[in-house]
Amino acid sequence: MAQTGEVAILHHHEAPKGFIRKYIFSLDHKVIGIQYYFLALTAVLVGMTLSVFMRLRLAWPDATLPLIEGGKMTPEQYLALLTMHGTIMVFFVLTTAPQGGFGNYVLPIQIGAADMAFPLLNMLSFWVTFLGFLVMIAAFLVTGGAPIAGWTGYPPLSAVGEIAGPGQGLGQTLWIVSLAIFCAGALLGALNFIATTLDLRTKGMSLMRMPLTVWSWFITAILGLLAFGVLLAAGVLLLMDRIAGTSFFIPAGLVISEQIISHKGGSPLLWQHLFWFFGHPEVYIAILPGMGVTSQILSTFARKPIFGYKAMVYAMLAIGLLGFAVWGHHMFISGMSPYSAIAFSVMTLAIGVPSAIKTFNWLGTLWGGQIRFTTPMLYAIGFVSLFVSGGLSGLFLGQPSLDLYFHDTYFVVAHFHMIMGVAAIFGIFAATYYWFPKMFGRMMHEGLGKLHFWITFIGVNAIFMPMHYLGMVGHPRRYADTTGVEYLGSLNSLHVFMSIAAFITIAAQFIFLFNLFWSLFRGQKAPENPWEATTLEWTVPSPPPHDNFGGNYPEVYRGAYEYSKPGVTKDYVMQTTPDAAAH
């Protein structure tokens, strides 16, 4: 553990004066965290707009649409929307906001550090990620448009160029380059989080006293360090197949549109193994920070210590570890060895155990509490509900036998939207409403926040629950419309219902946006500790000064969740309150 004095010498800086050093190329983890957050906010608006057009096409395939040439969306335009929606949401929203955004802002303060271990690296990781986003958006603008190979980019479709379809030329190349850049940024960030957590904890902040949020960001960073390197390598290989004539993923003898493809010797399954070796841990990269923040918020507003703190830490470690041993469950139908499918299946069902432990402990935390229904608490409770719904459908998909029917149907789309999409987004909303006062010094509007919650919570269930039924009927995913297959004709009413639910839910997000920007300027001034919470970020002003603690590093005397302790006057004890004063 680092010594307080040493940290102060290393990191005690005056706040920079110029606008550019202060807000653009800032080294301050708080500014960088906010930059990541607003990057994710921009990305989510793009991703959400794409989904509006997809839902329009799915429910009313013949409707004349605005902003589209000729008014009618072509199948390839639909596939481009789908590819970009998935990619932007997974990388630039679900990976960026929870870890790069809140992790960056809150982690150093929660462990009592002045900044990240490597502030320059931190700045670099944000700007690299930003560059990756620009390159991704550029894919919309090039000839042929955005790629159509899905966010998983399976070769040969993604590897052989525009002969495979519109968007498979320069658009697909930019997509790969963007992901490679993103991986580089994510690796820098992951290193920084790990070093910071290990080295910069203040006096008394032992590992087992860390808030569960810090544990979740720390474990997420380890997953990122091990996973993004693999995707980066895979991306480079795919790029080589496209531009340098190599054949890592392209087998011999391909004939597309009567043209022989000259590559030989590659394996399409190799890409799937590499992609999912990254892709499955990525699911946990998106959801673990949500688990951390949910734990923090449930404990805070139930006014109870977290139930089973150690079990929660071990469960997250187990999820992180097992998360690297289950990638094959995405490939049950691929032609991979059927024996390994059984092994992957057992590991996959095993990962349900720590997930269940977390759910039970969240219920245990609520049990016997005095629940305060603030907006962040509503979102944290919503997270638990969505996590249960989205997790249980994994029990079907984790079995290779049941996957024989459900693989690549809407059942899968429903599953991952529930858990890695909206549950993770609920984590982001919970974190936003919870830490906004600390980050910007003003409270968000509670009434608007609650309105936003009710519409969103009911809305996402109305969109994604019926989607399971599409899967029951065997509706394949990534279909531009339902006209090509007879048995899909009867499902149009479900598509219309889901689209209407989606439009209402998306409209409600403007309540959030309004609340966010209105509160930035007009919100009520936030006190130091508006939620009566116990962790270190609530011991400093809102917003905190440039070096967080003004050079006076806190000393920590206890774990993070001391609520309703008997014999103590207030119903919470700060981590920094000395034992003698805690009465």
Binding site: E76, I148, G150, P156, L157, G165, P251, L254, V255, I256, S257, E258, I260, G266, P268, R303, F307, G308, I333, S334, G335, P338, I342, S345, A350, I357, F360, G364, L366, G369, Q370, I371, R372, F373, S385, V388, S389, L392, L395, G398, Q399, P400, S401, L402, D403, L404, Y405, H407, D408, I458, N461, M465, G474, P476, Y479, A480, T482, G484, V485, S564
Partner: protein, 264 residues
């Protein structure tokens, strides 16, 4: 607020369960030997998940209503190791039990070899069609060559006319099979990955270029069943569809004869 939240969670839970319990949207009836076991395994998984779903969601709904802030103090508890151990072991047994039960179906599909008398049919995906080939009376598939693959010349699979084994090969855009006879499907692709999916067989398998993936089944009912492509293969993915025609032995023999290549 507490009551409302509990109520909303309960309504969402019950509405979801209604759809599954009353089979509003459901599988079609099965026609393969895997169907009964498949549907049984699905039912068991559904019941297990249904119970956990019901208890967890309604437990959550109850807790948010019962433990709303009434101005007192929360109970001071850091957890309970006996409870942790209990629910860890219970979940592990149930989840792993469910996982292991389903492996029997998987083993029958993928670990058991096709019966020796199985009829071999080659199914090759391409953007955006299925080509189905039968070996003909000689029981052998003729050689194919990429340079001969020309739909425009009526030879999408590039069957080599110089190979004697190819003379009697039958290539069709639909797949006919005799009822109650084991069939082995050899799955290939000419270009990108496709996926062979027949709901009524409860089977799906990717067709991967450069690989030959195999499936075997016995269809127990005659009829016409759709074969949609289930893996994104390009802009025509949603229209890549063929039919599985399950016929009586007699009809099948006639069908094959009618579509046999004319002697030259």
């Amino acid at each position: 607020m507490a009551f409302l939240l509990g109520l909303v969670i309960a309504i969402i839970t019950l509405a979801t369960m209604y759809g599954f319990a009353f089979k509003v949207w459901w599988f079609p009836a099965f026609i393969s030997e895997y169907g009964a076991a498949y549907d049984h395994q699905f039912q068991i998984t559904l019941i297990v998940c249904g119970i956990v779903f019901f208890l967890a969601q309604l437990g959550l709904a109850y807790a948010v209503w019962r433990y709303r802030d009434r101005g007192g103090r929360g109970s001071y508890s850091h957890g309970n190791n006996v409870m942790e151990a209990t629910w860890t072991i219970a979940t592990a047994i149930v989840f792993l039990g469910v996982a292991l039960m389903g492996q029997k179906i998987w083993a029958r599909v993928h670990l058991d070899a096709a019966p020796a008398n199985a009829l071999q049919v080659e199914v090759t995906g391409q953007q955006f069609a299925w080509n189905v080939r039968y070996p003909g009376p000689d029981g052998k598939f003729g050689r194919t060559k990429p340079e001969l693959m020309k739909e425009s010349l009526g030879n999408p699979l590039g069957v080599d006319p110089d190979d004697p084994a190819s003379k009697d090969d039958v290539v069709m855009p639909v797949m006919a099979v005799p009822v109650n006879r084991p069939v082995e499907v050899l799955l290939r692709s000419k270009d990108v990955i496709h996926s062979f999916y027949v709901r009524e067989l409860r089977l799906k398998q990717d067709a991967v270029p450069g690989m030959e993936n195999r499936l075997h089944f016995t269809a127990s009912q005659t009829g016409r069943f759709e074969i949609p492509c289930a893996e994104l293969c390009g802009l025509g993915h949603h229209q890549m569809r063929s039919f599985l025609l399950v016929m009586s032995e007699e009809d099948y023999a006639n069908w094959l004869k009618e579509n046999a290549p004319q002697a030259q």
